[in-house]
């Protein structure tokens, strides 16, 4: 069973740049954003390619300590549409899905960074959050559903 999540080798440079600019405090945080972005752009799992080469893996502890590992599981369930993906022996599948969505997210992130007119990279991230962020309005919104079903309201 794997204990690391690997960014795509050719796009590690994007994570490094964002980390150096202090837009993401760690590469792990950059991966979280990229994976969520990948899913938001296209939730269908089959349409997300695996990278040709992988970069240096990030240990799972780095996802666990900021309590982000739950998102990897939630993403896998949402992508698969079943809870069976939570089985212990399918950890590698969950990591693989996360890496594929992150790969898509990083490709899009790089495209936006390269083509942006903003010199300040934070503006690029803010544009992404404006374009892809928020939730549909009304009682049936995903957020409202989670709050209701998770007993938060």
């Amino acid at each position: 069973m794997r204990d690391r999540i690997r960014p795509p080798k050719d796009l590690e440079i994007v994570l490094d740049e964002l980390k150096e600019l202090r837009l993401f405090q760690t590469k792990q945080k950059g991966m979280m954003f990229a994976a969520a972005m990948g899913y938001t752009i296209n939730s269908k799992k089959d349409q997300h390619e695996r990278p040709e080469r992988y970069g240096e893996g990030i240990r799972l502890e780095y996802f666990q300590s900021p309590e982000d590992d739950g998102y990897i599981n939630a993403l896998a369930v949402a992508a698969h549409g079943t809870l069976e993906i939570l089985a212990d022996d399918r950890t590698d599948d969950r990591f693989d899905l996360f890496e594929r969505y992150a790969n898509t997210g990083l490709i899009e992130l790089k495209r936006r960074l390269d083509s942006s007119r903003h010199v300040d990279r934070l503006e690029v991230i803010l544009d992404i959050l404006d374009d892809l962020g928020g939730d549909s309005q009304g009682d049936d919104s995903n957020d409202a559903r989670v709050r209701r079903l998770a007993g938060l309201v």
């Binding site: 739950g70 809870l83 989670v146």
Partner: protein, 688 residues
């Protein structure tokens, strides 16, 4: 570095030979030297700097030897000035002695031969002494305390204000970098640059075809980049010079009645602009941190809702919680015997297997429950993020609006200053000079920005050319080997450069943090003090609108800030020494003294708190002051810690005599000496 002893002979006003034994670190670590103005208090400081570095930062630097001593020396004989400083560092004792001897000529003058001599001896822990004059003694002293850092530890009160004024300059940055031992790293980086260049030359010689062409291109690019970097450095110097000119003109303009209100208004607006820019930067940094932590949850998706929806459906359909644990059924099927002892027949086996196939989720019950908890937690974070995100963006937008309004106001005031026809010619000329400098500044900044862009492009091209060349050289053994060596040297250099940048940032952050602690301890005033990433020092106070604004640039504020900064440096050095566990990593650290001449003169509001704070932080203090400044609050704060005390008795033909009282004992402070031609001083120990 801890001071042990200073012996002075015939140096400036100090006539005769005197020895000061410094109070060592501990409860009584203060050495006090009292002296009337003109008695040679600053001479004492100058003696230390002359001994260490041969520095003569005083009026008439040719007159080192005491006039009185010269007067008393017969014609044709040599008269000597000598300063010997004994100090400890890294378990060794250093005896540094500098002397100058000159022959007295027939007309009473001294010959002008350069006879300064420096002698440095080192005594190790076993008591073995050896001279290090065969090595470069100046360099040895530089290793103990680099000259550019001496101003941090040996200073006059007014130098402290200079230190704050220097903040942000390359000089202060360079001094801090020297203090934290970055020289070794810098030398390694410079060496690796040479190695890379030499290897590039080797490669050019052995390569052919495309590889050779690319190597030549790399060489050319490197040379262009060197010229461009040198040009940028020159332009930066030019920018600093112009900025200084602008400041000077502004100061002079502010002195003219007619212009003053507008100049002051512009300064006030500049200050506000600086404050707003800094606040926006700070708020944007906070926003970036927030996005880094939870921004991914804000992206629109059903990631959280699908999980809870599926879990809820599984509960509704009765799949979970499982009434019988699937593992139990698996065990029954495996063993083939019921818990009652009866064997499981074919029919029972079939229905158990069927049940098992429809209850797969039962085995995942714990994981599903856990996921539910995780999603609830993520949703809470998502909700909090949304509120925070909106709030922070509103704050930034408000600050940006305020910035826009202030910029417009500033430009209106600037326009008024530029356009107004001042009655006074001097004001007109100064304003014209200011306009000229402003456009020069604009031009130079534009050139810097263009050159930096070009440099970045060249760096990118260089990388590309190297990659292409490496590809070409791949099949040639010799070329490939040199290419790999270049790559290795480049990687190590880049790593070291990264380490250097990181280390400087770490030191700056540490000093910034420590500065606030020290300020709170020594100034005890609610102010926000900062040592920012540009190495600038600043003090801010809370305004009526609950916002931090720059405090008045008073002498007291500047001195307290400089002392807080110096003590932060001392603390950093002390911590570095304490934490290295015998292993040297970049910065060895150590203990450092403070030798201060009249530091508290204009520090009325801090006169008690600052000395108390210094006493707590600094391992060894040498305080040179006049009696008036010592008496009262400073004495109350430091008196208890005095371990040794001296008075510089001034002998003068001008004054009437004066006696002071030190711990109940009368001490001669000024000696009236009507027959003497020159003022001179003698040093006496007064510690009871």
């Amino acid at each position: 570095m801890i001071l042990r002893e200073l012996r002075i002979t015939n140096f400036r006003q100090i006539t005769g030979t005197y020895t000061i034994r410094f109070a060592p670190p501990g409860d009584h670590s203060v050495t006090l030297i009292l002296g009337e103005n003109g008695s040679g208090k600053t001479t004492f400081l100058n003696a230390c700097l002359w001994c260490l570095y041969g520095r003569k930062d005083f009026e008439n630097p040719g007159e080192i030897i005491s006039h009185k001593a010269v007067e008393a020396t017969p014609v044709g004989q040599e008269v000597k000035s000598n300063v010997r400083l004994i100090l400890e560092s890294g378990g060794q004792t250093y005896t540094i002695e500098r002397s100058a001897g000159l022959c007295k000529l027939q007309d009473g003058r001294l010959d002008d031969a350069d006879t300064e001599k420096l002698n440095v001896d080192v005594t190790d822990e076993k008591g073995v002494t050896r001279s290090i004059n065969d090595r470069d003694p100046h360099q040895e002293i530089g290793l103990l305390l680099p000259e550019e850092l001496a101003g941090f530890f040996f200073f006059r009160g007014e130098d402290l204000e200079e230190l704050v004024a220097q903040a942000g300059s390359d000089k202060l940055k360079g001094a801090v970098e020297t203090f934290v031992d970055l020289l070794v790293l810098d030398r390694s980086i410079a060496h690796l640059v040479d190695v890379e260049r030499n290897l590039e030359r080797d490669l050019k010689e052995v390569s052919s075809g495309d590889a050779k062409r690319l190597t030549e291109e790399v060489e050319e690019l490197q040379s262009d980049m060197d010229s461009l970097s040198a040009k940028i450095a020159e332009e930066r110097q030019q920018e600093k010079k112009i900025l200084q000119l602008v400041e000077e003109v502004e100061d002079r303009l502010a002195e003219i009645e007619e212009v003053r209100p507008l100049v002051e208004k512009r300064r006030e607006l500049d200050q506000k602009l600086g404050y707003l820019v800094e606040r926006i930067k700070e708020k944007r940094g906070e926003l970036a941190d927030r996005i880094s932590a939870d921004g991914y949850l804000h992206l629109r998706s059903d990631v959280l809702s699908v999980g809870v929806k599926l879990a809820s459906e599984a509960r509704k359909s009765g799949e979970i919680p499982a009434k019988i644990k699937p593992q139990f059924v698996d065990d029954l099927l495996g063993i083939g015997v019921c818990i009652c002892g009866k064997s499981i027949d074919e029919e029972a086996r079939r229905s158990l297997a069927e049940w098992r196939n429809t209850s797969a989720l039962g085995a995942l019950e714990t994981a599903i429950t856990h996921l539910g908890g995780e999603i609830a937690h993520l949703q809470r974070r998502k909700d909090m993020f949304r509120d925070d995100f909106d709030q922070r963006r509103i704050e930034i937008s408000e600050l940006e609006s305020a910035l826009e309004i202030t910029e417009a106001e500033r430009s209106r005031v600037e326009g008024e200053l530029r356009g107004r026809d001042f009655r006074q010619e001097s004001a007109r000329d100064l304003q014209a000079a200011k306009n000229r400098h402003d456009s020069e500044l604009h031009e130079v900044r534009l050139r810097i920005s263009r050159a930096e862009d070009k440099l970045a492009q060249q760096e990118e091209t260089l990388e590309q050319r190297r990659t292409e060349r490496d590809r070409c050289a791949k099949d040639q053994e010799k070329e490939s080997r040199i290419s790999r060596q270049i790559q290795a040297a480049t990687n190590v250099r880049k790593g070291l450069q990264k380490l250097r940048t990181g280390w400087v940032a770490l030191v700056q952050e540490n000093l910034d943090h420590e500065l606030q602690l020290k300020w709170d301890e020594i100034a005890q005033l609610p102010r926000r003090v900062q040592f920012d990433s540009d190495f600038r020092l600043s003090i801010k106070e809370l305004g009526g609108d609950n916002q931090w604004r720059p405090s008045a640039s008073s002498s007291a504020n500047k001195r307290a800030l400089a002392l807080a900064f110096v003590t932060s440096l001392i603390k950093l050095a002390d911590q570095a020494q304490g934490s290295r566990d015998g292993k040297r990593f970049l910065f060895a650290g150590g203990q450092y003294p403070l030798v201060m001449d009249a530091p508290f003169a204009t520090m009325d509001s801090f006169k008690r708190t600052v000395p108390v704070g210094l006493r707590r932080t600094v391992p060894q203090i040498v305080l040179v002051t006049n009696y008036d400044q010592w008496q009262g609050e400073v004495e109350d704060a430091l008196g208890i810690a005095v371990g040794s005390a001296y008075v510089l008795t001034l002998h003068t033909p001008k004054e009437t005599g004066e006696t002071i009282n030190f711990r109940g004992i009368p001490v001669e402070y000024v000696a009236a000496e009507p027959d003497t031609v020159f003022d001179w001083s003698e040093l006496k120990e007064i510690m009871p």
